[in-house]
């Protein structure tokens, strides 16, 4: 379970999150929507400590994140997929996936490679295990990044606009993989995206962040078919048409 409890975050003098509260239960798929600059990335990055809240607390399974326990909490709970993939360019796909398994989870090399192959199968890229990121298309890189996140077997998967840097023809392959994952019951997923079609299909809940606040928290059905307020209507009309 994840709890963002009264999170405020300022960069310098500007506060970009004003009192964000969010509770995500185990296995839930939450899609975060909102206009550009609203604070979606900042909020999701608080979950794994890439940003430290100026005030308020992050709880993972009831344990409050502190500078001291951040690393051990993250190792236990969280994996992240980024907009820019952020694969390690000097390592093959296989090495990208096994690094954390071997160095952090103390698996043997053979175990780690077996696990990596399983995960590459899930994203449909087993044959690319020995490729360097530079030899892969954007969509393939992102699928390797998803395999890397899956491999560590952490309960919470965080996605920050995983398809925004991709050409339209490659977005589908990544969204399909993510959709497949969203049907897995055990995984908790928090996804920042602008893909409304995906949000409708994958989300248990839609969280709308606007101006540094969670202004709507509802089912996808209610959110899309009966937009709860003017801002959401405005937002939807811009992204859909």
């Amino acid at each position: 379970m994840i709890l963002l409890d009264h999170i405020h975050k300022s960069f310098g003098k500007t506060e970009v999150l004003h009192d964000v509260n969010l509770r995500v239960g185990e296995g839930e798929k939450v899609v975060i929507l909102g206009p550009s600059g609203a604070g979606k990335s900042t909020a999701i990055r608080c979950v794994n400590g890439l940003e430290t809240p100026s005030s308020g607390s992050v709880f993972l399974d009831g344990i409050e994140m502190t500078p001291k326990n951040r690393i051990s909490l993250v190792r236990k709970h969280c994996a992240m997929v980024f907009q820019q993939f952020n694969l390690y360019p000097h390592m093959t796909a296989m090495k990208n996936i096994t690094l954390a398994l071997v160095k952090l989870q103390k698996m043997s090399r053979a175990e780690a490679e077996e696990r990596a192959n399983e995960c590459l199968d899930i994203v449909g890229l087993r044959e690319k295990a020995m490729s360097l990121p530079s030899q892969l298309s954007g969509g393939q890189q992102q699928r390797v990044a998803i395999a890397r996140a899956l491999a560590t077997n952490r309960k919470v998967l965080l996605f920050d606009e995983p398809t925004s840097a991709l050409d339209p023809e490659m977005q589908g392959e990544v969204l399909n993989v993510m959709l497949k994952l969203s049907h897995e019951h055990g995984k908790t997923m928090i996804i920042v995206t602008h893909e409304m079609g995906f949000a409708k299909q994958a989300a248990d809940r839609i969280v709308f962040i606007d101006g540094g606040l969670v202004t709507v928290d509802s089912t996808p059905d209610a959110f899309f078919n009966d937009p709860p307020n003017e801002r959401v209507k405005q937002f939807l009309s811009k992204v859909l048409y």
Binding site: G49, L50, C78, A79, N86, Y88, L99, K103, T152
Partner: protein, 245 residues
């Protein structure tokens, strides 16, 4: 007998005394290697400090770099040689060569290391942190291996500068190549011409291949460029790579 600066007999005299020059050459190599190792050690430590999140650590980096980069090496060497003894520290010329020149170039190496780490995209640090790697693991597995490739050319140029700069030791009886060439000429029949030419050629023989290799390697990584660098940092590094003082 001709008395021109490059008269044949001067060359013959130099040839028969070649052991002296060779001695200087070996000393220069030895000092250069040790000073380079010391400079690398300091450069990595202070370079890492320069990329710290903590302001005080970055300040330590700035003070070290700006202090040693902005005072001529000759002043530093004279200070250690002539003023340190009054503080009860008497360093041999050899030690001044290794430590003094090493500290001076460590400041340049620190800048190269700092710029190199800055050129690694932020996403790499974030991916490592998001996976739960601690600082040393992040640096060791992810950041430094990518940094080394791109800083090798500017580091090699620093090595070239360092080798050439050991020649200031001639002014404090350093027994290095330049000192031996100069003292050989001044003690004998003033055959400065051949002595300096031979010293120059010997410096060139070490430095030119290093500089050429650096240029070649830099072009090669530029053309492959499978490491994505942030643009500013790339410019900074390229400037350093081209900057042979």
């Amino acid at each position: 007998m001709s008395n021109g600066p490059f008269a044949l007999w001067r060359w013959e005299m130099l040839w028969s005394d070649k052991a002296v020059i060779f001695d200087g050459f070996v000393t220069t190599l030895l000092i250069s290697i040790l000073a380079l190792l010391f400079a690398l050690l300091l450069g990595v430590i202070f370079g890492l400090l320069g990329t710290s999140d903590r302001k005080t650590l970055r300040m330590v980096n700035r003070v070290y770099v700006e202090f040693f980069q902005n005072i001529p090496l000759l002043v530093q060497v004279f200070f250690i040689y002539n003023a340190f003894p009054f503080l009860g520290m008497r360093w041999s010329s050899f030690m001044i060569g290794v430590l003094g020149v090493g500290i001076y170039h460590g400041a340049y190496v620190a800048e190269v290391v700092r710029a190199g780490i800055h050129s690694i995209p932020k996403g790499q640090f974030e991916a490592a942190k998001a996976q739960g790697f601690d600082y040393l693991q992040m640096m060791g597995y992810i950041v430094i291996p990518q940094t080394i490739k791109i800083i090798l050319p500017p580091l090699t140029n620093q090595a070239v500068n360092l080798i050439k700069n050991t020649s200031v030791l001639a002014t404090i009886s350093g027994l290095d190549l330049m000192y031996q060439a100069d003292s050989w000429a001044s003690q004998g029949r003033l055959s400065y011409g051949p002595a300096y030419v031979v010293a120059g050629v010997l410096y060139f023989i070490i430095c030119f291949p290093l500089a050429s290799w650096a240029r070649w390697y830099e072009r090669r990584i530029k053309s492959r460029e499978h490491i994505q660098l942030s643009d500013n940092a790339k410019d900074e590094l390229m400037m350093m790579a081209e900057d042979v003082l």
